[in-house]
């Protein structure tokens, strides 16, 4: 594999994505990386015990891409990894829908696992995305912005 075959791609998009297509791209003509780790995050129905019906994802265009590129570069400095793909969806998303994808290839499974988890941990506290949830209870719909979890900040700090 020559160096130009290594890539780190970031996509912020409203459309859904295909896990199979993304992994196929990570693996295409890549015969040196035996390990592929993926993380997929989806909208679940029990955030904080409320009955979430959908989420709306807002982001800060420009800063989002820059912060994700920085996070990926930090991962590449710490672990021997090959290709990286990060996808984050924006706009309105319903229960069960995919929100985020991180895919990492490596010669070594430990590096693929660590880099993938590091990217997710840092994305959670550094990338400018905000979730607003729509909740329906007793036939009444309300909205509220999610609070950041202190656990996420603590977890990201464990890496440094």
């Amino acid at each position: 594999m020559t160096s130009q075959d290594l890539f780190a791609e970031i996509s912020i998009q409203a459309e859904d994505f295909s896990l199979a297509d993304e992994v196929a791209l990570l693996e295409k003509d890549n015969l040196t990386d035996g390990a592929v780790v993926t993380f997929t995050g989806r909208v679940r129905n029990n955030n904080n015990g409320n009955s979430v019906t959908s989420l709306t994802l807002e982001h800060y265009p420009g800063m989002t891409e820059k912060s994700l590129a920085k996070i990926i570069n930090q991962a590449k400095e710490q672990w021997q990894i090959g290709r990286v793909k990060v996808i984050h969806r924006i706009g309105e998303l319903h229960i069960g829908e995919q929100i985020v994808f991180v895919g990492v290839t490596s010669k070594h499974r430990q590096d693929a696992f660590a880099a993938n988890e590091f990217i997710m941990d840092y994305l959670k506290v550094k990338a400018p995305f905000w979730k607003k949830e729509q909740i329906t209870e007793a036939g009444k719909t309300s909205e509220n912005w999610l609070d950041a979890k202190t656990g996420d900040t603590d977890k990201a700090e464990l890496w440094s």
């Binding site: 800060y60 990338a127 995305f129 607003k132 912005w145």
Partner: protein, 82 residues
């Protein structure tokens, strides 16, 4: 001029997505924040939230970060993506 942008709950609380300030009177992010707080009591209360984050030209920065004309300064709540 300095471009100021707001996101998420902060934008809704201020009912404002973007404004401009003269670069003459503010040297740091904290001074930008102070200037915005001085607009009225609603803004003062909103900016008293210690958990607000700041970015200059798309990089997260601390309050003592210097600002100059042409910069884009952003304020927003802790992020909740992923």
């Amino acid at each position: 001029m300095i471009k100021i942008v707001f996101f998420a709950a902060l934008r809704e609380q201020l009912d404002c997505a973007e404004l401009s300030l003269s670069a003459d009177d503010v040297k740091t992010v904290n001074e930008v924040k102070q200037r915005l707080s001085d607009r009225n009591s609603q803004w003062r209360q909103t900016f008293s939230n210690a958990s607000l984050l700041s970015a200059v030209n798309h990089d997260m920065v601390a309050g003592d970060h210097l600002v100059k004309s042409g910069d884009e300064v952003a304020f927003f709540p802790p992020v909740t993506g992923g």
